[in-house]
Subunit: 216 residues, 2 copies
DNA sequence: CCTTGCTTGTGAAAACGTTCACCAGCACGA
DNA sequence: TCGTGCTGGTGAACGTTTTCACAAGCAAGG
């Protein structure tokens, strides 16, 4: 087991949230069954996911809420603080900056960039928008580890290239476009257009389910 | 083959985008190999995905770009126009309203709601923010088919309950919380917190890969 | 100490998704 | 007309993820 599936990692994030809630409710212990129920998965799934990283529970008792939360926090790399740069100061970039939840989770925006001269120099929350031309130098200086791309789709690949060239190995891409990056760079996508279309498919299908095709 | 996997649907959306680009470049035909290359998957995957819905290509030639695009458009249910309501007029909701790309893809925002009396009545782009208390009646009148939840996490489930009670069967959830809905309702999630954490895991792992646990 | 009731951790099985490999079929040129 | 080169469609093989099912282990109570 040297490779953890992305599904497992995503579920760990979910478990983490549930544990926060459950902890706030004052519970000390939680069983895999209860944890699973609150997340809409099976208890075996919970135990299997956790088993990839160690044995955190006690038979007959369940999991200690605070302890398991701390373990998952470490597994997800949330113990340390990640420095983030946002490239693209449009609507999504601005919304992201305004969301204060990230800081609490260990993500700190340290720089904002945009290509548009009319935006450069503007204040966005506590940040001043820098010219994207300065980005490579700032990235190469080690000022941040994660680049968030909130530019239009057409610019996204160029930005990704610039980020990777500057040594950035983590990219969160909000642009609706596939990014090609070197193997040692990790990209995660947030694509609401995709989700809208997936929803459209599900709703359209429900009304007129496809028929089994005749054998050709 | 009565069930199409979500992965396949997502890839269809991606193919659709590539076809738009390729069409704009003036190409008439495209092979599964080329289409696959531009999307970062295998050609067998492309052919398999499409085969679930019919035979759209011609052996020796490939796929007609305009035709395949139209087929996928139909498959995804993008031929019709979907009416959308946004619940939560905060940063994300506002960013969403400002994004004009949705209309082009067949999604039209017809109403915006918020609970906060200070926001109700405000103009957001071409929309006036309504009180969320009016939402159930408007939803039940059939004014929209898709509800987008951009409220804080704590309110998300209540909104989802209200939407489903009013007959809405498609929900796009931006709140970082699992929504429980009846079986005939489809939920898709856009969760940037999750993606940040997944990225954090990948970056943390890269630096200190887990060791194979000793057998217990 | 021993029994009872509950829960974890995990091999094995099942389900699911992806890739392979090859036949069928088309255009083109000789 | 026939051969060549290329491409789609698809059953089968493969790999991965999820679920099942049960032994191992802990707490509590008598």
């Amino acid at each position: 087991m040297s490779h953890i599936s992305e599904s497992t990692v995503r579920r760990l994030s979910h478990y983490y949230r549930v544990l926060e809630e459950v902890g706030a409710e004052g519970k000390r212990m939680i069983s895999s069954h209860l944890l699973a129920e609150r997340e809409g998965v099976t208890s075996a799934q919970v135990r299997k996911d956790l088993s990839y990283f160690g044995s955190f529970g006690r038979r007959g008792l369940g999991y200690n809420v605070a302890h398991l939360r701390a373990e998952i926090r470490t597994i997800l790399g949330l113990e340390r603080r990640w420095k983030v740069a946002v490239v693209g100061a449009g609507h999504i970039g601005s919304a992201l900056l305004a969301y204060r939840g990230f800081l609490e989770q260990g993500f700190e925006v340290v720089a904002v960039f945009d290509r548009d001269p009319r935006r450069v120099g503007l204040s966005l929350g506590t940040h001043v928008v820098h010219d994207v031309a300065e980005m490579p130098a700032i990235a190469a200086s080690g000022a941040f580890e994660i680049g968030v791309i909130t530019t239009p789709a057409a610019a996204a690949q160029d930005i990704a290239d610039a980020l990777t060239a500057a040594g950035i190995r983590g990219i969160l891409n909000f642009a609706p476009r596939k990014l090609f990056v070197p193997k040692n760079v990790t990209v995660r996508n947030v694509d609401m257009t995709l989700e809208f279309e997936s929803l459209s498919f599900a709703l359209a299908e429900e009304r007129s389910p496809r028929k089994r095709r005749a054998r050709g």
